[in-house]
Symmetry: C2
Subunit: 374 residues, 2 copies
């Protein structure tokens, strides 16, 4: 097949079971995309990422444009070949990282000028350049450049930022042009203000995208406000296109967002937490630093079949976390990504069988909140 296609297989209330088909492979939705920031899903080999069940990963335009550089990646045959991942890759536009990582930012109508967090060099990102970079990387799903306002912000600030983001969305879409088999997604902004979110959705639909993301959430507004914003936004997105909630989130965020019609997610939480000794399990998160695991011969999660759970004890994981052994990051990252994929598979099964609400209730009941280190 040579086209980007989204097929809705089943619905269960607002929750949707779908399938994205692209030349590089299929993406079962709801889907979780592990984050491969700088050309690597940290502490994982690509084949191991695939083994966890991931159909697609995310690459960060900001990091890759700074190092090794988009033109270099292109001359080396593209990001897929470079990093050894031959399935779909979604790239963000770099906008969010410019705001969170770089210094001395100056935003104009044209774009954003900033200093690299790596070497302090002055860099420039415009909608056109963001799309050019993503094309050079060979990205399968490319995101428009948007401005990501800080939270909290006044309604007036959000409205002004939104207007710029919508003008940039239009320029991004034009710059994307026609790329058979590749997709371009718009990003709904508007903070926690329903009428701004809806205006944003309308304007994006008018431009026309292959998929629609919800951006600017999980920035401090809290889960309740995030869910409310989704409820005010997702119903206004085209039902025949994928809905992608960017940068989210904790396991219960995913469950709640699926209940509100979201199809795709990405988040650094499973990988970053893994490197920090934290494990997601079906009974909540565990902090492997805790001394109570020192003689615990049980598996991390008895329902999981990843190498960390199959071959090692909690006592061992506790030891390697304490000793700062690299294998701790490797095993806990693998486990967390496996857990996230298992969760998405369970969600997909629940939607297919029309029991998503019950699944969500059971999940929340079994899942405890984050365990703090002792």
């Amino acid at each position: 097949m040579s086209e980007f296609r989204f097929e809705l297989k089943a619905t269960d209330g607002p929750a949707r079971l779908g399938l994205i088909s692209m030349p590089r492979g299929e993406i079962r939705t709801p889907a979780f995309m592990p984050v491969g920031t700088a050309g690597s899903v940290k502490a994982m080999l690509p084949e191991s990422v695939r083994e966890t069940g991931a159909d697609i990963i995310l690459g960060n335009t900001y990091h890759l444009m700074l190092r090794p550089g988009a033109e270099r990646v292109a001359s080396l045959g593209g990001l897929h070949k470079f990093m050894g991942w031959d399935r779909p890759i979604l790239t963000d536009s770099g906008g969010f990282q410019v705001m969170s990582l770089s210094s001395l930012r100056k935003i104009t109508e044209e774009g954003v000028r900033f200093r690299s967090h790596i070497d302090g060099n002055e860099e420039f990102l415009s909608p056109e350049r963001a799309m050019e970079i993503q094309r050079l990387l060979g990205s399968d799903i490319q995101m428009v450049l948007d401005e990501c306002p800080a939270f909290p912000a006044t309604e007036a600030d959000i409205e002004k930022s939104l207007a710029l983001s919508m003008r940039w969305a239009k320029r991004s879409r034009i710059a994307f042009g026609v790329q058979p088999g590749r997709a371009c997604f718009g990003i709904v902004q508007g903070g926690v203000f329903p009428h701004l979110r809806q205006r944003s959705a309308r304007e994006l639909i008018e431009i026309g995208f292959d998929g629609y993301a919800v951006g600017g959430l999980a920035v401090g507004e809290g889960q309740a406000a995030m869910f409310e914003t989704l409820e005010a936004t997702v119903p206004h997105l085209p039902a025949d296109r994928p809905h992608y909630l960017m940068g989210v989130g904790k396991p219960d965020d995913l469950v709640g967002a699926v209940l509100r019609g979201v199809d795709m997610f990405d988040c650094v939480l499973p990988t970053r937490s893994g490197r920090n000794g934290q494990a997601f399990t079906w009974n909540g998160t565990l902090n492997l630093r805790n001394a109570r695991f020192a003689e615990d011969t049980g598996p991390l999660d008895s329902r999981c079949t990843c190498p960390a759970c199959r071959k090692f004890s909690r006592a061992y994981l506790h030891h390697v976390v304490k000793a700062k052994e690299i294998i701790a990051s490797m095993l806990l990252t693998w486990h967390n990504l496996a857990f996230y994929q298992d969760l998405m598979a369970a969600i997909r099964a629940a939607i297919a069988e029309g029991r998503m609400a019950a699944f969500a209730g059971d999940f929340r009941a079994g899942y405890r909140t984050v365990e703090k280190p002792e």
Copy 2:
């Protein structure tokens, strides 16, 4: 089989092809043992270590006694189960690390008192305790406790230290007792002084060990002095027992030592170098930090079939080393261990075919010295 057995399969001058058989598996010699200091061969899963061709790994008594503790490892079922490696493990006695890592050491006839480099706690290691720890860990090949004198040292200092090490060797051997299927190795000391080395060998043979190690080398004396010391020592070791050169070394050290009758090696060099961006190849060592690799689409080593060489380019490895991605440590460690095992396999084939001297010459001719970063 329930016994430790060493079979000499072929000789080629002083070079020896052998096979150690133990309940947990066979060890093809000459053998290189990857170092799994604190219960993990750094940046590797145990199954990947095995995939490189390793028959045996080394564990460090010093690190494991401090964390998680020998009694704890024993209560968790032993080191093999703990770390997920079911083949033979050789443990050192902790003596070398006490000298190199701990502080406030006080050596008496009884043993050595020191402070842990982890928490500053006072600890004590005697020949009896070193053997007890190794037994608790479940080690297959246990090393006597010796004193490791600093280099350089006077002949008088070495002689005095040697005398203590030989008394400790005797106590260690007695403490080891009878452990069916497990082995106890003595350690020849004596610095670079042939008559002391030979005295040490005689005294150890009189005590009687399953194998004989050469310790106290690769501490700054240089390759020529190391080879001379081996030539003055190894012929005085029993031919029907394995000869183990501790803590060595660079690839050409291994080739040269095999030519002088050594059967076993361990060294942190392939793993540590891998974490530092350095790769061993059949054409010498490469420093992946060097900018000349930034657009090099070739494999790290065209003769190697490890994942780093099979699936990634030098350009990618350069990128992940520069970006300090964990995958850089994972891939380069894997490659270096694979290279070391490939080298040992090539050495074994050369001995079997009676062309070890020619192999050594070819190897040295193709192998350049260490490449420095730009």
